[in-house]
Symmetry: C2
Subunit: 195 residues, 2 copies
Amino acid sequence: MSRSADRSAQGAALSRAVWDVLATQGLERLTVRSVAAAAGCTTGLVMHRFPNRRALLLHARQLLHEVTLARVEALEAAAPTIRAALRAILLQGMSIDEQNRQEAVVWLGFLASAISDDELIAEHRRNNHSWRTRVERLTAAAAPDWAPARVSSVALALIAMTEGAAALGAADPAAFPATQQVEMLDAALIAFGLF
Amino acid sequence: MSRSADRSAQGAALSRAVWDVLATQGLERLTVRSVAAAAGCTTGLVMHRFPNRRALLLHARQLLHEVTLARVEALEAAAPTIRAALRAILLQGMSIDEQNRQEAVVWLGFLASAISDDELIAEHRRNNHSWRTRVERLTAAAAPDWAPARVSSVALALIAMTEGAAALGAADPAAFPATQQVEMLDAALIAFGLF
DNA sequence: ACCGGTTCGTAACAAGCGTTACGGTAACAT
DNA sequence: ATGTTACCGTAACGCTTGTTACGAACCGGT
């Protein structure tokens, strides 16, 4: 058991290392050697767990998906109303704390690297589609009398707004503090009649 | 004059090459050699015009600023009303055609590379601040009776929304066609009482 | 206690990178 | 016509990169 425990611990350390390097040092410094250094191992171990460098990016993106998915479902389950759930899951998608800011950096780096990579962009599409259907479902539930076209438009507006806020807040946290992002989201929700 | 004309023509070809490589091949393939190949010259010329690779990125970002600035001012001048001007300049900031989509890719790549580069991130802050003050000015003019806090919140919402739509549309044009982006923007402008 | 297989570190490889130095060439001034 | 200067291509340097091959160490089963 100590063997398998060590192995999963190593896997977790490697995951953290990939995440940390991409989140703090950016896309161009995400190299096999820097990940190995961050994980406290050698490049051999990294290349035994990941077939190539693109797998590092893919892993970081899947990690981002898992983390946000778990958080979003917990928020949705704990919210008293549907509208509160919608607001809560949109809030966690912006750059309102250091955790979210790092996630936005990872999102940005992955997307920039996926521009010329079909496999990576396919992963982005999968995750983004899942996110979009969730927001559309909650929007439709929060405004049952809306036409599907309006639900789609408003959900798209909310998604684009939070994603943009995540990127802008990640690149310039001082110019886009959490309070302004929250006010922005509330202003939008009120304007759309969802609050 | 033939000499200086050649020189400026070479400069324009180099600018186009930097832009094209970054827009079509992404950040990681933006290398001195690929730019030279795209410009039809050698690496020597590239390194005579740019001190280092970061200058390529900086140049692409400044090019993006110049292009969008000129287009935005033309749109603003040609718009019949302030609200039409606001809508027009927001439209051009999303991924509604191939030109805008390439601009979003350049924006994405630059931002991802600026994460761990103070000089690049400073350029982003400059350009973004200028963009933000413009949208805030137009928003305030379009809704003169609003309190400054509301102007700021709504302008931030519009900026984040268009920037997010630009990124999402650039990464997945099929999932975010131009019609949906336009409907999204109009829905938001109507909801905010700006249309 | 020995052995087979997994696991990971070591070391090296070729390729590509940014960057620099040098030489030739063409335009300009005198 | 000749010297000077700016311009740019050639070639190379040193370094980092992703990736691979090989060997040692360790674990579980017999």
